[in-house]
Amino acid sequence: MTIRQVASPLDTVRPRVASPPRPTGRRTTPSPGRAFARRVWSSRTNKVCLIFLGFLVVVAAAAPWIAPYDPAHQKLASAFLPLFSDGHLLGTDQLGRDTLSRLIHATQISLVAPLIAVGFAVVTGLPLGLLAGYLGGRFDWIAGRVADALIALPALVLALAIIAIFGPGLVNAMLAVGAASAPRLFRVVRGSTINVREETYIEASKVVGCSTARTVLTHVLPNVRSPLLVQVTLMMSLALLAEAGLSFLGLGVQPPTASWGSMLRSAFDNRFQSPWMVVPPGIAIVLTILSLNMLGDGIRDAVGQERRKS
C-alpha cells in the first residue's frame, strides 16, 4: 500500500522514519547509516585516522609475510644494534631479535587485546544499560549504584584487583580491563536509553503489542548506536593504553609473545645498554592512541551530539 502525498514544497524535507517504497529501485536519500559514514569520511582528520588504523589492521594480518625476519630468531652476536642499522631498520633487542619484525608481529596482539576488552565491556554494559534505562525502577537503582561504586575506583586499580583473582595473562588482563570499562559504557547506554524511553514511537510499539525485547532491539537500540560508537572508539584507545601498561608490569602478555607494551618492558630492562629501544614501540602506541582519540572526537562531531566548540 502506497500513500500518495500531496505535492508541497515541504516534500523536499523527508520525514526520517518511513519513506514510502519507490518504484524505481534507486533511492535518492541515502540511508542514515550511509549518510553518517559519509559525514565521518568527509573530514580530513577522520580520513587520515581511518587510513592509519586500516594500515595497522593490514600489517597485523599480513605480519608473517611482511616481517623481514622471524620475530623469535635470536642472534646474540648482533644484539643491541641501534636504530637504522644495516639490515635492521629499527635495530635489534637484547637477544639480537629484529625490532621491526617484532613490532610488526606485536601489532596483532596490540590490536586484538583492546578488542577483547571492549568486546567484553559491550557484551556486559550494553544489555544492562538498555534494561536499566528502559525498565527503570529497582533494577535501574541497583545496577546504577553498583556502577557508581565501580566507577569510583580507578579503572587500572579495579583491573589489578581482578587480575589478582584470576591470575596474570593477556586474556585475563583484557577481560579485567573490559570489566573495569563496562560501568562507563553502562552509563552512556543507560543515559541514551532514558532519553528516548518516553518518545511516542516507543509507546506506539508497546501499544501494538511488541514484546519488551523487540521494542528495545528495534526502537531503542538504533538510538543508542551513535553514542555507543563514540564510546567504543575512545575505549579502544584506553584499552590499548591499559594493555601496554599491564604488559609493562608483566601482568599482561607473557613472553615469548610480544605486544607493544611488553616490548617497552624489555626496552626498559635494557635501558642502560640501548636507550633507543624504547622509541619504536612507544611511537606505535602514541600514533595508534592518537588516531583512535581523534577518530572518536570526529565521530562525536559527525553524530552531532555534544559538538565541541572550536
Binding site: 549504584r145 553498583v146 557508581d148 561504586a149 565501580l150 569510583a152 575506583l153 580507578p154 579503572a155 587500572l156 586499580v157 589489578l160 584487583a161 587480575i163 589478582a164 583473582i165 584470576f166 596474570p168 584507545s237 593504553l241 601496554a244 601498561g245 609493562f248 608490569l249 608483566g250 601482568l251 617497552l264 626496552a267 626498559f268 635501558r271 642502560f272 636507550p275 624504547v278 612507544g282 602506541i285 602514541v286 592512541i289 592518537l290 582519540n293 581523534m294 565541541r308 566548540k309 572550536s310
Partner: protein
Amino acid sequence: MLIFVLKRILAAVPVLLIVTVLSFSMIHLIPGDAAVVAAGDNASADQVAATRAQLGLDRNIVVQYLSWVGSLATGDFGTSLLSSHRNIDAILEALPVTLSLAFVALSWSLVVGVVAGVLAGLRRGTWIDRTLTGLTTLGISMPSFWLGMILVTLFSLQFRLFPATGYSPLGEGVVSWFSHLALPAFALGTVTAAEIARQARAGVVDVLERDYIRTATAKGLPRWKVVMKHTTKNAAVPVVTVFGLQTAALIGGAVIVEQVFGMPGLGSVALKAILERDFPVIQAFVVVITLFVLIVNLLVDVSYAYFNPKARQA
C-alpha cells in the same frame, strides 16, 4: 553549605559499602579453593589449613564480612599472608610516596593545564591556540610510563640532572624530595595537564560568547578584569569536573610510573601482592584507594558549590 557537605558525605556511604562488599568477595571469586591458591604451590595440608584460618574462610560468610568491615572501621586492615606484617603498616609506609607523587603531578598539571587552556581560549584561532591544541592532543595520547622512560633516558642517564630511581622523604630535605619527584610527576601529570587544558579552553570559549561578558566589556571594564572576574570563575566548573575524574585515573597511572622510577609507593605494594597472591594486602589496597578517590570527589563537589552557587541546592 555545611548541610551540602554532610549530604555529600552521606552519598559516599553506599559507594563505600559496595566497594567493601566487592573487595571482600574477591577472595570468594578465586577459581578453586582460595586457601590452596593463597598458600602457594608447595604448601602442606597444615599450611593450607592455617591459611584458611588466617583468611577466616572456615567461618560463616556473613560473619566473615561483618568482622572484616568491623576491623576496617577500627583501622585494622588485616595481616599480610606472607610477612605477618599488618597491612596498614605496609600501606602507611608507601602512602607518602604515592601521595607526594600525586600531589606534585596534580599541582603542575593544574597550573600548566589552566594557563595553557585559558591562553588558547582567549587567543582562539591564532597560532598560539593551534600550537597548544596540537600539544594537548598529543599529550592525551601519551602513555605516562613511556614518557617517563624517555625522561629517565634523557635527563638521568644522559645529562644526569635528576636521580633515575628512588624516593627521598620530605623530612630529608625539600630539594632532594623534589628532585626525585620531578621527572615521575612530570610524566604522570602530562596527560592530566592536557585534559585540563582541553576543558579549560572549551570552558573559556563557551563563556566568552555569553551576554554578561559582552555587558562587562560594553560597560568599559578593562580586559584583564573581564577575564579574571567573569571568565575564569565560570570556566572553572568543567575544569573542576575533569580534575576530579583525572585524579582517579592518575592514581591508576601512578602504579605504573612508580615502577619506571623504582619508587616504593602503593603501586609497588600492590604489584608485589598480586604476584605473590597476598589477598589481604590487595583488599586493603583497594579500600585505601577508594577512600582516597571518595575524598577527592568530595572536595570536587564542595568546590563546585563554591564556583557555582546553583549547585548548592542539588
